[in-house]
Amino acid sequence: MGKVKMKRKSTRIDMTAMSDVTVLLLTFFMLTSTFLQKEPVTVVTPASVSEIKVPDTDVVNVLVSPKGNVFVGATGSIAAGDDGVFWSTDTLRRVALQLAVSDFNAKTGKRVQLTEPMIEEFAKMNMFGVPIERIPDFFAKNSGDRDDWLSGKNVGQGPLADVKETEVGIPLTPISYTDQEGPKETNEFQIWMRAYHNAGSDMLTKAMKSGKGIAVKADHNSAYETVHDVLDNLQTIHMNRFSVMTSLKNLETE
């Protein structure tokens, strides 16, 4: 019998094609992805059959944690509005912060001073929840510690050590002031909402008026009382049309 000659084959696999495919997939994911927005508190929204999607642009997000801490954040436009003015998220946040602080100063007689770096840092924040009076202290923290503080970690440390965990967020404690029409009452949440409304972005103001521009997000387990505080405040400032965030529930599969 003749010997069968085994041909030696190289074990090398050509990876070029594989690399092509992975690069394509990568490109797809990079282009389609929208990143998870960083939020101080993770909330699980209740399910509903509503099919209206939450808008990406021109929206003020109100986040209510199960413990009742309130956070507010806003997203601007991606294109110029009908009036031809382009309000990016960055500009919107900058203007709103200055408006809110000056409104707060006018109503309480306090003198909260903002610096350019503070405004810069604020514009990068997705969700904000600090008593206005303590904003300078908040930005005195390291940027890493700020997010921790908002999510209720290491609350008793560094600047703002005197603020308790339950006091993190935008306070709903009433502020009394007097204007031409006589004594009135407001609170910081109302000041913030008005600041975003009056910031000057035509698109956002319209969206807020129609109710699409205000999205309230609350945990499904939190008591109605906590959410009601926020809803009641929205009602007081005539923002009685708004949307609440829910996850999708399929009626057919029930």
Partner: protein, 251 residues
Amino acid sequence: MAEIQQKETGKKKKGAQKKMDIHVDFTPMVDMNMLLISFFMLCTTMIKSQTLNISLPSNEKKENLEKTNEAKDSEAVTIYLTTQYDDDHNVVDNTVFYYFGMPYVEVDEATGRIGTPTSESKAQGVVKAEKFLSNDHGIQQGIRKVLHDRNSEVLSRIDELKKEKLRPGSQMTDEEYTARVREISKDSTISRPVVIIKATPDASWESVITTLDEMQINAISRYQLENFGGMDSLLLNDFLVKNPEYGQPLR
């Protein structure tokens, strides 16, 4: 593919370098790409949250609204929401209490509690309890059935419309269908319920949203969220004392 073939041409010169085939190994490149892909896959949100639109009456107009409610007593459905929690503050169950029209508040002298109504019409106003239940093989249960029955006129018309749409050869577009459904649910010539939702302070947010959701499911166009008042807590506590299986009376 990733090699560059080089032909051996000519004679070998003395001192010429040995020719090698250039072969690029793509394995690390693929490894890196895979890592990046997994990063993007894990960090993206493909599903967007849904939103539910709510419009509340403005604070000043509340008094007027209460007057209009009284006028349409027969159509009113009042809903109370309560939630039972376990020790870790997780929702165990949500209960819905409801009555139609005006509440029945005649006190029985002997017990000091709200008595048993004597007539059919008064029995409408007695507080009853239900649960949130999903459909059982297409049949409504729980509070959905109660609301479905109250709004049966509107819903039967919508059913007819749906049949018409699904009939072979039907020209109806989706937009037309939703427009007509909206028209039916807002038609003031048919009797439609007015649902007043009052959540107790302890009720979970989930129960409020589920109730609002039931309004959508049952095509109820007139509903509103209202504050839970003293009268409501009296009524509810009376019911809870009589039926302790539905939870502790409120503080």
